[in-house]
Amino acid sequence: MTADRPHRRLAWRRLLTALAVAAVPAMLTAPPATADTAPPGTDCTPDGVACVAVLVLDADNGRVPGAQATITDGADFSVEVTTSADAVTSVEVPTSGGYTVELDPASLPADAPLPEGAPTSIDVTAQTGSTARAAFRVGAGVQAPPATSAPPSGTTTPGTETGAGGEAGSGTTAGGEPGTDGGVVDAPPEGDASQRAFSLAQVWQQIGSGLRFGLLLALASIGLNLVFGTTGLSNFAHGEQVTLGAALAFISVHVWGLPLWLGILASLALCAATGFAQDAGIWRPLRRRGTPVMQLMIVTIGLSIALQFLIQMFIGGRSLRIVSSNPVPLRIAGITLSEASWVAMGIAVVCILGIAWWLTRTRIGRATRAVSDNPALAAATGIDPDKIVRIVWIMSTTFAALSGILVGISFGSFNWSLGMQLLLLMFAAVTLGGLGTAYGALVGSILIGLVVELSNLVIPSDLRYASALVILILVLLVRPQGLLGRRERIG
């Protein structure tokens, strides 16, 4: 099924491009589905966005209702909030960064004034994925606070303000947030194994999670490596292709109302079209001009920035779920993963086997390997390198999209930074396996997946991605060509 996809795509490519072009206005007019789930103004869940909460507390840690405060960022963001007695007042702020919360002392109840010398404004630093809290103590028996800031909640200090931690801090699982904002959040069945004594069963469970992560990562990094192999280009926009797949699947399921399987197919088709369009519109003309590869690499960085903001514009900053039902845990061979995860692993295995079969048994696959080895020689034997490179680009974006969709489904949720976080892991995987070798990407990805999940057992899980990158640097020290690479590639 996988093997003939490129042929089919080739046959359909004009249709797909047309579809992609036709879809753009639809996407522009359709509001993101998150709009209806968006929390109202004063109730912000730090779920991939940054929140600022205003707490006005009396001496007994009770919330003082009716106090008015203004949250500004020093430029032109400004929101006025009024506290209530029964919930923490928090608002979503557009970007992470410094915000000033200014309390209007006149709005305080007469029996609870600000203490002498207490500041009326507090500077907080908003972080994506957590709630920065500005706490004002008012009323009799309250001293002016020594520090002018409230510790942010979320990852680290849940509930330093009594009674507030519950709601405000629950958006982030303690320590379970990799990267900036938890694009990859574990599904409930697995949980966070760090900071615990570990048993053999746990190691086994983590190996299972590691295999899942590795297989899904491999699906994406094979494409990265094929592009590198055939064109010599390190594609920094590959991560955004992964996010794009997940985002389009989300949009097609939740905005266009397609059934899941059709949504996935639509997303794959659109992403294949982006691969075709990219090659036809950007990469082939630049290859024709003889632009050096390093220059192209910076072009991919520009593309990555542009795509990243484009995706953000459509899906916003918060975590999204492609499948909104709760994951069903399923235990196989002592490993508990969600049902969706097992299916995703199955799909990944089938696709990887398909790619391997395609590369070794089909004419075009063998031509691809020939172009990877030596483009000039391949061209001399009658292979059209441009055609091969185009097929490789389409494959690369399609499998990146598939990987994004499967990660989004089996890890529960994703957000716009999913691909950004995976990109470095993909680079680590292909360097570990050997840049430019298709099987190297598979081996490297599975190893990186295992390392990431197993390192959970010994180091805090907010550092687990760092462990993979440390391995990348160590590999370069010892065996720069990677496990399966050849010496002449490293320069």
Binding site: D76, D123, T125, Q127, S130, G175, S234, F309, A466, P480
Partner: protein, 328 residues
Amino acid sequence: MEEFLRILTQALAELVAPSTAAYALAAIGLNLHFGYTGLLNMGQAGFMLLGAYGFGIATIAGAPFLVALLVAIAAGTVFALLLGIPTLKLRGDYLAIVTISAAEIIRWLGRSTVFQEWTGGASGLLGNSFKHTFHELSFLPDGRTAVGPLEYINTGSDSWWTRLFAWGLVLLALLFVWLLTRSPWGRVLKGIREDEDAVRALGKNVFAYKLQALVIGGALGSLAGVLYVLPRAITPDSMGRTMTFFVWTVLLLGGAATLFGPVLGSMLFFSLYMLMRTGMRAGLGDVIGGTQVEQLGGMLVGVTLMLLVIFRPQGILGNKRELAFNVR
């Protein structure tokens, strides 16, 4: 009209803003890497973050201002050595992948709970905790000063003193780089950029020269990190990959391998960026929201970078023949 003047003033303010100076300094360091030596450093934000942490943590521990600056430089130097020794013998894109990964490692370490005691975790170090030594150095009188349409307090976070210091440091760095690049040492660097093997054949230790360039540019990057955090808090997440990419855009816009390219690029980039965003907010404010303006702005930066590299890789001031893109 008033609206128009406000927008222009904001763009003008960006020309002299401390963060513009910080980006200029970071780009000067990157220019030494990429423009003069041909090294693809994709982790300049990592150097900056390390410099900022070095400065902040040293000051909190009680070090005087100059010592804290030295700590920042030392942090950048050690980081450059750690990165350079394994990767400088390999092809260019390996250095790119390793530097971008290492910068992310620094950010993850900074925001992790393990080092929270020193780095403040994800929320970072608050501005007030590390700025007092810097503010004490100010010789400006108290109060506010207005120069033309720009008015700031004399000493404080967003002040004239911060601006004076930042641009003074940028001028010093320019002088330093000018002297470096016209020295015999600088000529060897350019030789490495043009043809590594030829320089090796002349008996020069190419690896050592590259490492020296990486260290000096990295130290300049760390100082830029200090400049960047002087008007604000040290937050690891604001100094991630996007920052590195912006530094690259700044450098390529102004012109790599030119002395004034980074400064021109930074001033132009940030005032245009501000002009674009405030202009869009004023013009399209009722069509799209504030967040969307930010995202459109970011998209335009990405597209600008692509077009710049494709159609004018030498930037405004640069010379196409001096461009390091065709190194291995």
